[in-house]
Symmetry: C2
Subunit: 412 residues, 2 copies
């Protein structure tokens, strides 16, 4: 079954907002054996109709996002109903849900709000528990005079679309796809190893497995290796990949490296604290994005100034003056001071030059020192050089710092 | 001139990676009077050719991203050259650049690496200063026998594409578009006010301005109001928007709310520290993403446990026991302890229940207290209720916390 995603919204094409819908929907539908064959982003306006005409002819499922809200640029519903020649009828249940929602929040209603209670004849309402505009499901060929695929109209804001998808769209897709043969997919996530090196280790061997599809995806500090095929060939490929990449694979599931770390620490009943200079809170943010992080994560210190490194972590003024704040000595003292002051099992410290300013000949922009202090063991440190923009630099340092502790926890 | 973006990459359609190219390219080309009319994401493989045939006929500029790397799924270049019937010729300069780059990093070469030195006859090389695969510019109708638009082939990794675009693509676009009439655009960013409320305040008045295009974009804790048109009508619209929304507009430029705060503090030579519980380092991460943040940002504390709130910030055990860690008293004590201990001008504190666990009837998931302590002034606090997923919750709390300080700094 061919599935196509159409994202409407002038703000997407103007670059004011990142399109996160494609990635979300693609992951959600994979469990039903579905893949997105194509995605298009188009402006709010009449081009919705020509795009619908174009893709309706060559797809079985179409997801349209955006344009269901109350403002004047929200015209998806009118255009879809027009294309399919369906009447728009006010739905009393939706009207009441909108009224209740706005009253509870003491939000005054405007006349345009009630447009969101209009439903094309024959469509099924997908309740919106996080906003006013409901989603809509229009079964295939809802108007026999205008052939059409299964059509889902979904709200633009991700925090409205995502729960709606899981709660109301997924059950419908499960029913539609009950008869399909499922393909298998596995993804192996590898930190701190280049794409070419990985290809050299496994590319030829995997290519020799008949009927396998191999793909790579490089992200800051991470390469994801993906194999797709029948369950049998995917298992063959997995054996090769695990043998060749070993413990460099930090997960074969959906987990982030931060989530793997929280899980490993949790299993061992160990705790973690973070002292960040150049990463500015990014490591703490990544760790606390993991549900249940509070079991293992005790404290984070963003010691941006030298005075804070001395006061909050007990780094010696002498080390800062003698070696500089970006040095193995200061990274190590940060990690050790952090661990002993907070009483955790492991302390991770980062110090570096994120740029764009602050670099020197000896320590150019992109230089980072990582410190790791663990209970009853000598401290470790590593030096890295990751010249890039500020945000990528934070991601690269985080991947390496987290992986340093992961390797320690999983070493034999 | 119609511009179209084509993103290749099975990993994009499988949802393994977010597509950031569209937003980046859209913002870059706006200065040349160009807008993206459509964007498509398609899998690596033969569908590139049918898509090219389809879009070539109705566009003047096409950007294709991805598929230029060394691995077996990187076939964009071959397919484009095939479609345009152009020979692929090894470019000695590119070959040498790849050799030098890999040698400097002591990365072993593989045979496939050299495919990246192949260039279609007549194409211009766009050097890649952050990777091995160069970009390519194929001028319109490069092969007169196969009509084609201006075509840019760009690498998939954002950290390679983005500097290449600014350094090498932008000058070419400037030349191509020198004759076009430029339209004006303004965006006004508003924190903590709903889209419907904003529409009610300004929608009717803006609609009465002839030839203006008005759009809204809602994000967690923020709505962006966008107007496009001739310089004259955009100025009229601006007057209306500024009068009606006033100081709720935190910027009319590209700045994030965190960047506005860093700028305001910097202008006043004031300093900031952060004490975060429920936001887990997200506020510090946002502030330190702003270049120059180190001038105003002194320290961040992620006090996830009660013991840390007591030890690092001096919150009283009695307050935690009597009122709970999520309370106005603790938020205020966190902010005051933070400010006096670090000696900054302003201390911001967050404490709340991010979920999914940890909620109670009195303080359900989504409850947050914000504290703000400023030199020589009584502390302020606010209570909020933002039920949502962990990451959205962090964003909503951050927007409100930053805006609380911004309002204080800009109040008359």
């Amino acid at each position: 079954m061919k599935a196509i995603v159409i994202n409407t919204g002038t703000e997407i094409l103007l670059g004011d907002v990142l399109n996160t819908h494609l990635a979300f929907i693609a992951r959600e539908i994979f469990q039903f054996g579905l893949r997105i064959d194509e995605q298009r982003a188009i402006p709010d306006g009449d081009s919705i109709q020509s795009t619908l005409a174009d893709v309706f002819a060559r797809s079985e499922i179409v997801f349209v996002t955006g344009g269901l809200g109350p403002t004047s640029d929200d015209i998806t519903l009118e255009l879809v109903a027009g294309h399919l020649k369906l009447p728009l009828i006010e739905d009393a249940t939706v009207h009441e849900a909108i009224r209740t929602r706005l009253a509870a929040r003491r939000i005054p209603t405007t006349e345009r709000i009630w447009r969101q209670a209009l439903v094309p004849g024959g469509a099924k309402v997908l309740p919106n528990e996080n906003g006013t505009a409901p989603g809509l499901y229009l079964p295939a060929n809802i108007n026999p005079a205008v052939p059409s695929p299964h059509l889902f109209l979904l709200p633009g804001p991700p925090r409205e679309l995502q729960p709606m998808f899981s709660d109301f769209v997924a059950p419908i897709l499960r029913r539609i796809t009950a008869e399909l043969e499922k393909v298998a997919m596995r993804i192996f996530r590898v930190a701190n190893m280049g794409e070419s090196i990985i290809e050299k280790k496994i590319g030829g061997l995997i290519a020799a497995v008949p009927g396998i599809e191999l793909g790579y995806c490089a992200r800051p500090g991470e390469v994801d290796v993906r194999v797709i095929g029948s369950a049998e060939v995917v298992a063959q490929a997995e054996e090769i990949i695990r043998k060749k990449l070993g413990n460099a694979i930090f997960t074969a599931s959906d987990e982030t490296l931060a989530a793997v770390l929280v899980r490993l620490l949790s299993e061992r009943e160990q705790t973690l604290a973070l002292a960040e200079s150049c990463t500015g809170g990014f490591l703490a943010d990544q760790i606390t994005n993991v549900p249940g992080a509070s079991k293992v994560f005790v404290a984070g210190y963003v010691t941006y100034s030298n005075e804070e490194k001395i006061r909050a972590l007990g780094v010696s003024r002498e080390s800062i003056e003698r070696f500089g704040a970006v040095s193995e000595q200061v990274a190590t003292e940060m990690a050790e001071g952090l661990r002993t002051r907070t009483g955790v099992t492991h302390g991770i410290a980062t110090t570096g030059v994120a740029g764009p300013g602050g670099g020197s000949e000896e320590k150019p922009v992109g230089t980072a020192f990582l410190g790791l202090s663990s209970e009853n063991q000598p401290a470790r440190w590593e030096k890295f050089f990751f010249p890039s923009d500020r945000e990528t630099f934070k991601q690269l340092v985080a991947q390496r710092a987290f992986d340093m502790l992961r390797e320690k926890l999983t070493e034999r």
